[in-house]
Amino acid sequence: MDVQPTRMELIKLRRRIAMAKKGHALLKMKRDGLIMEFRTILEDAKRVIDEMVQRYREAQEKLALAMAADGVVAVKSIALSVDKEPSFTLKRKNIMGVVVPVIKREVVRKSVAERNYGVIGTTARIDEAVEAYEALIDAILEVAEIETTLKRLIEEIERTKRRVNALEFRVIPSMEDAARYITFKLEEMDRENIIRLKKIKGKKEKAEA
């Protein structure tokens, strides 16, 4: 161990140990808080992702049907005429130091009249496919928010956990070892000193006698 066995060093070490312990307690609380947050979001995430997958399947099915019945070219040409983009705003939120996106959805769905293609020239199958895809986008935006939040939280939990463990099993014990070493060394030096004084005293008495 490469520490100077001095009183100053011991005082410094004790201070650092106290601080490390405080940090450890705080991090532990942070970890528990994150896990609690995580568990509430997890339920939502499961539901939302399942929903999205289901909507994706539906949308694909309807699109395939439209393409089969009306022809790929018709579907593609209609796709070109739709020009109302789905819009949303993205903000950032901070959960215990984790930056997560918050997505505000605005009208993703449009009424038939708002879509820029003629109702007469197209069929209900295409309308349905468009509608299904609009619903899918809605679901995707919801997933985007929740899934990213969840991923971010998992990462943060892992990192916090690692730090808690490092403090608990490595940093604090090694500092405590060093502190113990210094106390023993200081005691040893004290004893040496006493013996030395006694010897000197003995020699002095001998000389005087």
Binding site: I49, V53, L63
Partner: protein, 101 residues
């Protein structure tokens, strides 16, 4: 106002075109995929990027990590199973218990 981007093969993208999304990237080859993802990552006005689940799995590791960590744009994997499997694996690794289902 942020935009939605779609990365996928032409077939995957057609439906999104129908819904009015304009920032759509048709990707056919793997090199194109990498280039497109990099471009989307750097883009200022794209808020959410939808990527086909199979494509996400194909990305090189470093890029995949960048995609995972990016908040703006946020990437969402869409496909027959969604990103559920990866999240499940991550949860298992981070918490030590499979909390998913």
């Amino acid at each position: 106002m942020k935009k939605l981007a779609i990365i996928g093969d032409p077939e995957f993208n057609l439906g999104f075109r129908l819904a009015g999304v304009r920032d759509i990237f048709d990707v056919v080859s793997d090199e194109e995929l990498v280039q497109t993802v990099e471009k989307v990552l750097e883009s200022e006005d794209i808020g959410v990027a939808v990527i086909k689940h199979e494509f996400l799995k194909k990305l090189p590791l470093a890029l995949k990590r960048a995609v995972d960590e990016s908040v703006e744009p946020t990437f969402v994997a869409v496909g027959a199973e969604g990103g559920a499997e990866e999240i499940r694996e991550k949860i298992r690794k981070a918490i030590g218990v499979d909390l998913w289902k």
